[in-house]
Subunit: 365 residues, 2 copies
Amino acid sequence: MRVGVIGGGQLARMMIPPAIALGIELRVLSENEGSSAVQATTAVGDYTDVDIVLRFARDVDVITFDHEHVPQEVLAALVESGVAVRPGPAALAVAQDKLLMREELTRLGLPVPEWARVASAAELGAFLETHGGSAVVKTPRGGYDGKGVRVVRSADGADDWFARGGDLLVEELVGFRRELAQLVARRPSGELGVWPVVESVQRDGICAEVIAPAPNSSGRVADLAADIATTVAESLDVTGVLAVELFETSDERILINELAMRPHNTGHWSIDGARTSQFEQHLRAVLDLPLGATGTHREWSVMVNVLGGPIVPRYPAAMVDQPTVKFHDYGKEARPGRKVGHVTAIGNDLDEVVYQARAAAGFFE
Amino acid sequence: MRVGVIGGGQLARMMIPPAIALGIELRVLSENEGSSAVQATTAVGDYTDVDIVLRFARDVDVITFDHEHVPQEVLAALVESGVAVRPGPAALAVAQDKLLMREELTRLGLPVPEWARVASAAELGAFLETHGGSAVVKTPRGGYDGKGVRVVRSADGADDWFARGGDLLVEELVGFRRELAQLVARRPSGELGVWPVVESVQRDGICAEVIAPAPNSSGRVADLAADIATTVAESLDVTGVLAVELFETSDERILINELAMRPHNTGHWSIDGARTSQFEQHLRAVLDLPLGATGTHREWSVMVNVLGGPIVPRYPAAMVDQPTVKFHDYGKEARPGRKVGHVTAIGNDLDEVVYQARAAAGFFE
């Protein structure tokens, strides 16, 4: 069984351990030498080049992704040449374009913030007028970790983006109590695996911490989140891992914020906290193998991202301080603000688990 | 941090996932292309060739092992050239030679079966006469998985081995209730990590199943096993993982059967069942990093070896039957009787966990 991953970032890197365990041959097409997935990189090349991607795909059973940026032309060429692409191009299109995402989710009757497609400052101004004078503007493509997202309070607040051409997405500024994320995995044959809904704490638009499961989420919130993610996965025919980022609003609504069709930062806790990690499950799902159990080892798992680094030279202090914490280094050069790894603590006392994870991550700042 | 592993078998293979997680660069010197550790193999060469091993060691911070067969001359050359070798040559010598092992353990006052060094059929006959007419004969070197071990009931029972030259080890045939194994890890700076003592079920001299912890082992048996392994590790200055295979006799003694100074089959359960696996701990120990916690995720972990195979083509049936079981394939060609992988189940009901692990392994026979 051979899986080809397009993209050599930390998500591809974290697929390597379960691939080794399961005896799955993992091949990675990386943008450059020295990627995070260097242990499995079997090709270096541009993922927007149809010939390079077709050549890479020739020796694998299925193509999947570390990121959502592979152009639809390339995806179409893969499908046309008979390659299994999971998730498929139609599903991926929805994750690639935030306007299409809002259109599809609205069509499915799923709860989203109020939104509009705007083509000019005047249209943006009209939306602001009917939404209390402030809103969130997003570029439909290419945003991540807070990039391509902006709160605006005047009609000219996105003029630079309009100047670059193309419509923008504008959304109501949701008064949310907290952010949640619901991860599921789905096989082509339909089987679904559902992890507990988690709380994700963002700082400056970047995921800082994840608590699994989200505190006080059993019952209504958990059911709603699982229903939403299941509906998205089934309606859009998503295969592999789907992450649905959610807002829990002050007035107790659950709204969809973003979709990602790949393993996701809000699922990293599952490597150490769940019976089946999102990375193992993604491999099983894209190979159409039966999915693994999604139960947890302890009541709580807390993941804290490490921004900056370096990690490895500081292990002596961190490991002696936190012997139960699991450390994950992405093999990236340290740089202020850059996601270079994460740590996970698990246990049955949430306060203690949060303390351990934060204390461990604190050594690397 | 760069660790060089001599030997490309499944133990080296299973060091790769924790090395990736921790950001440790793992390099493997394998005997041949297409080893079990092919994802990390950075050199192919003969580990008995001093020049090859010295060249391999030049780019790593520490050398450790997948097996115990590296000749002492090669180890001495490494140490002389300033390479950190863990475990060190003096400790490894004791694991390499069963006669030296018995001498050292006896010198340390540790409990071992009655034994003698015998050089001839006559000496073997004399031992048999004083031990009820039967005994176990072992070749001092090169034995594994039941090879080089034989029960004899007459003085000429080891004539073929004597004919090859060299002394043999003869031991009383221990009437044992069960076999146990105690794994510990030790850093050069002295810190020790101790996993629970486990029960190991052997079939035809090969480890078939491991139950962690050993049922009914809390209290005296657990303390005794931990004390024995700690004494061995400290007295022989073992660094990295040490496995002490033990007999629990019908008259309730705990006797040392064998030693291994590397991750060991009886510790594979720890990948899925413990907070820190033996493979992660081995890397931490040989790098002199603080050790991880050795607690377990659930009350019971049961590991069942897969002999024969193949594994991967049978995943669809096995995974749908046992969604909570973790599967491990060693990337070896299927062959009757060959260890090609293992499965691990964890849970709080021992009967259920044993059932799950055996059921899963049964798909691959």
